[in-house]
Amino acid sequence: MMRSRFSGKAILFCLLASVLLVAACAKKVAPPPPAPPPPPPAPARPTVTLQASSTFIQKGESVTLSWSSTNATQLTLGPGVGTVAPEGSTRVSPEASTTYTITATGPGGSADASARITVAAPPPPPPPAPPAETMEEMFRKNVLDAFFDYDKSDIRPDAREALSRTAQFLRTNAPINVTIEGHCDERGSTEYNLGLGERRAQATKQFLIQLGVAPERMETVSYGKEKPFCTASNEACWQQNRRGHFVPAR
């Protein structure tokens, strides 16, 4: 009972509101529409011109764009400028060759004008001086490891060549001290290889002493087969691991 009475009140309220609203609207639309105006004369078609102070610039230079127009209500210059006054000028500094277009729009239609600015690449800067080679890079390039035959610690002809270059570098870079690491392939025992690696490091050191490198600049350490450069079980890999390897001392 209560519910239906409330619903009844709500409906009554809505009805009343609707009537009031309709009455208000009716007031607005009430006056009759005015008579249509006489058709205006056909508007003149717009015109526009665009000029550049220079059509060829170097990258980084700027150029003045000037324009004038007639019968236009809106002028748009692009790219990158936007809406402009009916007559005027602006400076632009395009990064690359660009065709600027101005579009004039008016009641009589629209018109375009363009101007192309050619931008020349700047002359190449003088080549930068090559970065000074770091001592580390020079070390890597000039200090060459000695490679050994299986179970041998004799300096081979190819190792003589490598070590001559190494000695040359070490003689002319006196502050650099080195650790000579002796390495072995995986085939011997851990313990024997520690000895063999030491023999290789010692042989490398002795050869450099003969070539004039001071012995106190070189420490030797054997890693046996504990720090392989290459882990496959074939001769190419084993050869990589049989070496006297140079590390700059810290």
Binding site: G188, E191, Y192, G195, L196, R199, E219, E226
Partner: protein, 459 residues
Amino acid sequence: MNTIQFRTGFPRRPLNHLCFLAWLGSVVLLAISAAPAAAQDWFRTGTGLGVEKARVAVADFAPRSPSAQPLANIFSDVVRGDLEYSGILEVVSKSFYPTQVPSVPSELKHAAWSDPPASAHLVAFGNLAASGNDLAIEAWLYDVRNPSAPAVLGKVYRGEVTDAQIRRFAHQFADEIISRLSGGLPGVASTRIAFVSTRSGNKEIWVMDYDGSTQRPLTSLHSIALTPRWSPDTSRIAFTCYAPAGGFTSAQICIYSLETGKLVTFPRWRGTNSSPSLSPDGSQIMFMSSMHGDPELFVCDPNGGHLKRITYSAGVDTSPAWNPKTGQQVAFVSDRGGIPQLYIMNADGSNAEKLDLADMGYVIDPAWSPNGQLLAFSWRRPDGNYDMYVMDVATRQLVQLTRDAGRNERPSWAPDGRHIVFESTRSGTRQIWTMLADGTQARQLTSQGQNESPNWSSK
């Protein structure tokens, strides 16, 4: 923790006629030549004389409370494993055991164990109580074919309730049984094996029980640790370490104390220093060093004092191994003859003599048997891989222990002279294995990471 022995029959004489015969039967000369003149103690591994091994049953130890059940299971299983491993007796299969399990001697029904199918000669049994952190184990060994005889062994073990402690007691009890039944042969169940493992990312020194259980790292040096060797009293492990000093890293001798859990102060020397080996009386360390240029052998005191050069020959001299019986001979590896081969010299460096083998090829990793008569080593013959061999040094007789099973290196003898631990690649990766000294009963102890360079503690 303490151990008490009580109610033991036959205290000082061989336990009974049967067991004594079984012991005799277990001392077998491995026939390596037809020459009967070679009848020395060779490998004590099999029977082969027609005398049966003692049959031992290990009843499940009775838990004194339900919560002690898993602990009792560990104890029974470890004792069984130890006895089986010993190779000197036969462990009766559990499926033949009677259903009634004695927990104290009054409950033992002798005939139920001595009759078929168990047909046991001896039965080990007992009980285990764990209350709070207190562990108490009672353990007996009875001769069930001789009902009137008192206990062969009776032991009480008390300690903390930990897995490691229960295993330790089980190993002790097993060693007691083995010693009794073998006439005094030292059991190895309480021994440990030091080794190198990569499983933490770097090569570190690890240790494990002889059966591969409780593997644990000793060092955490984060560089390269190699070649561990026990001191004879098992309180220290000497090894090769890479130690930085003054911005320069080099191979040095490091000594780890198991008592303090730390490295012992030890001098540094120039060059590469490696492969330390302690003399049997623990008074000297021999090692390889290039401190004078060429890698030679040196000795010094355990603290690094009294340094003395031992070898003088061009080439590598390394892998020294003291004869544990005499302390007067050292086997080592030298390439003075062109390639690495075995030599034996006096401990002062005199009278170095090459061990000539029929073929050429690398010969490395010498390891003396505890009786000082046999040398185990690894040999790569020209056409093959590294395999392990044992040579009787006096007669130069040779036995090949491994073949066609990957690379097998680094033998080390158990103190019973019947087992050898070694590294092998037979499973695809480098792992630690043990076997009987005749090459049978190979068992893999490690499987995680790469594991190498095992060394068996002398007790």
